[in-house]
C-alpha cells in the first residue's frame, strides 16, 4: 500500500498521483493527515482502493469513477458528489449534500447525514446507517436513498423516479412525494443495497416513498407546490 501524507505533499500532488494510476493496476493507497482538507481524492477514474485516515472537508471523492474510497472519520459537505461508479464509505458522519447528483455507484455513510442528502441523485445509490436531515432527496431523479434511521422534513420534495426507503420516522414528505407499496422487486433491490452497505437491517422493516407524479405536467390546480 502506498502512503500519501498530506502533511508532506500538496493536494495537487495527491490527486495527480491518484488520477494517474494505470487503469488495471488495482493499487491501494493510504492518505494520512487529511486534516479536514477539501477536494481530496476527486476525479478518480480507476478501480483503486483509497483509505483516508481521518476526516475530510468539502467534496471528498467528488465525481468518483470505479475507485473505492473509505473515510475513516467524518466527511464534509458534498462527499462523493456526482459519483459515476465505484464505492465511497464514510465511517463517521457526513455533512450536507452528501452524494449530490450522483449518477452511479454507492455511497455508504455509517453515521448520520444532515440536510439535502442525496439531493438530485440521478442513478447513484446512497445508504445512511443513521439519520438524515431536511430536504433530502430533493428533486431526486433516479437511483435510491436508503435510511436506517429517521428522515427530516420535506423528504423527496419534487421527486422524480428515485426510490426512497426509510426504516425510522419521516418528519414530513415534500411536494409530490408519497408512501408507496413495497413490492417484491423493491424488497429484492433494498436487500441488495443493505448487503452492499454492510447494514444490519431487514428490508421488511422499511417503508418506501416515491413520486406521486402529479407535478410531471403543469396543472394550474397544482400551482401551490410550484
Amino acid at each position: 500500500m502506498t502512503v500519501l501524507d498530506l502533511s508532506a505533499i500538496k493536494l495537487r500532488e495527491l490527486n495527480a498521483t491518484l488520477q494517474g494510476v494505470e487503469p488495471d493496476s488495482h493499487a491501494a493507497f493510504e492518505v494520512r493527515n487529511p486534516q479536514g482538507g477539501h477536494a481530496i481524492a476527486v476525479g478518480l477514474n480507476a478501480p483503486i482502493d483509497v483509505t483516508i485516515n481521518g476526516s475530510t472537508g468539502y467534496y471528498c471523492a467528488g465525481m468518483n469513477q470505479l475507485a473505492t474510497v473509505r473515510v475513516t472519520g467524518s466527511a464534509g459537505p458534498g462527499v462523493a458528489q456526482n459519483m459515476m461508479s465505484g464505492k465511497v464509505i464514510v465511517d463517521g458522519d457526513a455533512s450536507q449534500y452528501a452524494g449530490a447528483t450522483s449518477r452511479g455507484g454507492i455511497l455508504v455513510i455509517k453515521g448520520n447525514a444532515t440536510s439535502r442528502c442525496a439531493i438530485q441523485i440521478k442513478g447513484g445509490d446512497v445508504v445512511v446507517h443513521g439519520d438524515i436531515g431536511h430536504m433530502s432527496a430533493y428533486m431526486a431523479q433516479s437511483g435510491s436513498l436508503v435510511v436506517l434511521g429517521d428522515a427530516g422534513a420535506d423528504l423527496g420534495d419534487s421527486i422524480y423516479e428515485s426510490h426512497l426507503f426509510v426504516r425510522g420516522s419521516v418528519k414530513s414528505l415534500g411536494a409530490d412525494c408519497v408512501e408507496k407499496e413495497m413490492r417484491p422487486e423493491h424488497v429484492e433491490h433494498l436487500s441488495r443495497l443493505l448487503h452492499e452497505a454492510e447494514a444490519d437491517a431487514k428490508p421488511e422493516e422499511f417503508r418506501r416513498y416515491g413520486s406521486a407524479r402529479t407535478l410531471y405536467h403543469f396543472e394550474v390546480d397544482n400551482a401551490g407546490p410550484y
Partner: protein
C-alpha cells in the same frame, strides 16, 4: 342618431392591448406565460452610445489597411491552457434539448471558421458538439444534467453558471414537448415530462463554497482549463467581486437582454439589469481588486453588431458573447418562413414560443422533420459570415478611434445620447464633460 360631438376614444396607457391580452390569457389558462428570448422592452442599450472618432485630437488609422488586432486570451490567470480566440466574440451557452442537434453543429462549425468558441448548455455535452467545436466551454449548471468527469476533461474551459441574464434567481424550464428519448436519457429523466432545473447548485450555496467548488473542478481537471463564472446582471459590482473570490479566471455577466430557451415572461421583462448597466460596475470591481485584465470580463445580453462589440470592449469588457444573434444568423425568425409563423399565431421576428418545439426554422426543436430543415454546413457558414462582419465593423470603429487593437478602445472614446445611458455606461452625454455618477465610483 345622436350627433353630439364626442372626444376620440382613448385606450389607457396602463391597460394597453398587450396587457389586456395578457390578463385574458392568464384568466383562461391559469398558467403564466412562458417564452424564449430576452427582454423585448425598449431599455437603454448600446444604441444610446456614440463613438467620437478621430480628427486632430486623436489620430485615426487607415481603415481596412492598418492592422487592428482582434485576438483575445481568456483564462490566463490559473489555467495551464488558456483559451485563445481570434475574435473577441464567443457563442453563449445554449443547451442541446432546447436547440436541435444540427443547430448545435452549425454553431460549432461557424465558430471554428471564425476562430472562436462555443458553449454547451443545460443538456450536457454531445459528441456532435464536441466534435464540431474546436474550442468548447462546458457549462457547470445547477441541474448537472449529463455532468460527468469525462466530459469535464474534454472541455477547453468550464463555465460555472450561477445565473442567467434573462432570469437572475430562477431555474430553467424545459416542457415535456421537447423531452425526446435522447434528451431524457442525457438528463436521467422520464421522456415527455416537464423539467424544472434547480436555481441553486445542489452542493454549493454561497461565495465561500463556490471557492471550494472551483478548487474541486480544478483538481478534477488537473488545473489545465480556465474556470469561468457566469452571473445574471443584477448586482454586477458585488457579484463580480465574489466571482473573483470564488476563483474565477473569467467573469461572465449576462444582462437582461440575454436570452433563455424558456422562462416566465415576468422574469424576462422584469428581473435583472440592462446589459449596458452591468459593464461599468463589473470593471470597477475588477479594478478595485487589482485584477482588471488579469481576470477577463465577458459581457453578453443583446449584442447584435460590430458597434455593440466595440462599445462593450470600450467600456472595459475583454470579450462579448452572443446567443440570440447567433440563432438569427442560423435562420431563426426568417421572414421567408412567414406563412409558417402565421400558422403558429405569430410573425417572423416575434416568434418566441421555443419551448413548444415547433420552430419552423429547425433550430429550437427536437422534432426530427423540423430539425432536418437546418443544414449545419450552410448554417455554420452564415454564422461565420456574421461573426466576421461584426469583427470587421468593430475594427473599422477602432481604427477610426486611433486604435491598433480592439482592446485599446476605452470609455474616453464614447459619449451617450441620453442621461440614462450616460449614467449606466459611465460616459458623458453628448456635448457635456461631466460623467453622471462620477462623484461615486460604484
Amino acid at each position: 342618431m345622436d350627433h353630439t360631438p364626442r372626444t376620440h376614444p382613448v385606450k389607457p396607457w396602463t391597460f394597453d392591448d398587450y396587457i389586456n391580452s395578457y390578463i385574458r390569457r392568464a384568466a383562461a389558462t391559469g398558467v403564466y406565460d412562458i417564452r424564449g428570448g430576452g427582454a423585448k422592452r425598449r431599455i437603454p442599450h448600446f444604441d444610446d452610445l456614440l463613438f467620437l472618432g478621430s480628427a486632430l485630437t486623436r489620430f485615426p488609422f487607415e481603415g481596412a489597411r492598418e492592422a487592428c488586432d482582434t485576438a483575445v486570451t481568456l483564462g490566463s490567470l490559473n489555467a495551464e491552457n488558456p483559451i485563445q480566440l481570434d475574435i473577441p466574440i464567443t457563442i453563449a451557452g445554449m443547451s442541446f434539448g432546447a436547440l436541435s442537434g444540427p443547430a448545435k453543429e452549425a454553431l460549432g462549425r461557424g465558430a471554428n471558421l471564425a476562430g472562436t468558441s462555443t458553449t454547451t448548455g443545460d443538456g450536457g455535452m454531445t459528441p456532435e458538439e464536441r466534435g464540431h467545436s474546436n474550442k468548447l466551454v462546458y457549462q457547470y449548471l445547477p441541474s448537472r444534467y449529463g455532468m460527468n468527469p469525462d466530459d469535464l476533461r474534454k472541455a477547453d474551459a468550464i463555465e460555472i453558471v450561477m445565473g442567467q441574464g434573462a432570469k437572475p434567481g430562477a431555474g430553467g424550464i424545459l416542457l415535456g414537448q421537447k423531452v425526446s428519448d435522447r434528451v431524457a436519457d442525457m438528463r436521467n429523466l422520464p421522456k415527455g415530462i416537464d423539467q424544472r432545473s434547480g436555481v441553486r447548485h445542489p452542493d454549493c450555496s454561497g461565495a465561500d463554497e463556490l471557492e471550494i467548488k472551483t478548487l474541486e473542478l480544478r483538481e478534477i481537471t488537473g488545473w489545465k482549463v480556465p474556470i469561468y463564472i457566469k452571473v445574471g446582471g443584477s448586482r454586477p459590482y458585488y457579484d463580480t467581486a465574489l466571482a473573483v473570490k470564488g476563483g474565477a479566471d473569467v467573469v461572465v455577466i449576462d444582462g437582461m437582454q440575454g436570452g433563455t430557451a424558456a422562462s416566465q415572461e415576468v422574469f424576462i421583462e422584469h428581473v435583472g439589469l440592462p446589459t449596458l448597466a452591468c459593464i461599468r460596475p463589473a470593471v470597477q470591481a475588477l479594478r478595485d481588486l487589482g485584477v482588471y485584465r488579469k481576470v477577463q470580463l465577458v459581457i453578453s445580453g443583446g449584442i447584435r453588431t460590430g458597434a455593440d462589440v466595440a462599445k462593450a470592449l470600450a467600456l472595459g469588457a475583454d470579450c462579448v458573447s452572443i446567443g440570440t444573434a447567433a440563432l438569427i444568423a442560423l435562420g431563426d425568425n426568417n421572414p421567408a418562413l412567414e406563412a409558417e409563423y402565421n400558422e403558429l399565431g405569430t410573425t417572423a421576428g416575434a416568434y418566441d414560443d421555443w419551448h413548444e418545439g415547433q420552430d419552423p426554422a429547425g433550430i429550437l426543436t427536437q422534432d426530427p422533420e423540423l430539425q432536418s430543415r437546418l443544414d449545419p454546413v450552410l448554417g455554420g457558414r452564415r454564422l461565420a459570415n456574421y461573426l466576421r462582419v461584426m469583427t470587421m465593423e468593430a475594427q473599422s470603429i477602432a481604427r477610426a478611434c486611433g486604435k491598433t487593437s480592439l482592446r485599446s478602445l476605452e470609455p474616453e472614446d464614447l459619449v451617450a445620447l441620453t442621461a440614462e445611458a450616460a449614467d449606466m455606461a459611465g460616459v458623458p452625454t453628448v456635448g457635456q464633460s461631466w460623467v453622471p455618477g462620477s462623484a461615486k465610483d460604484l
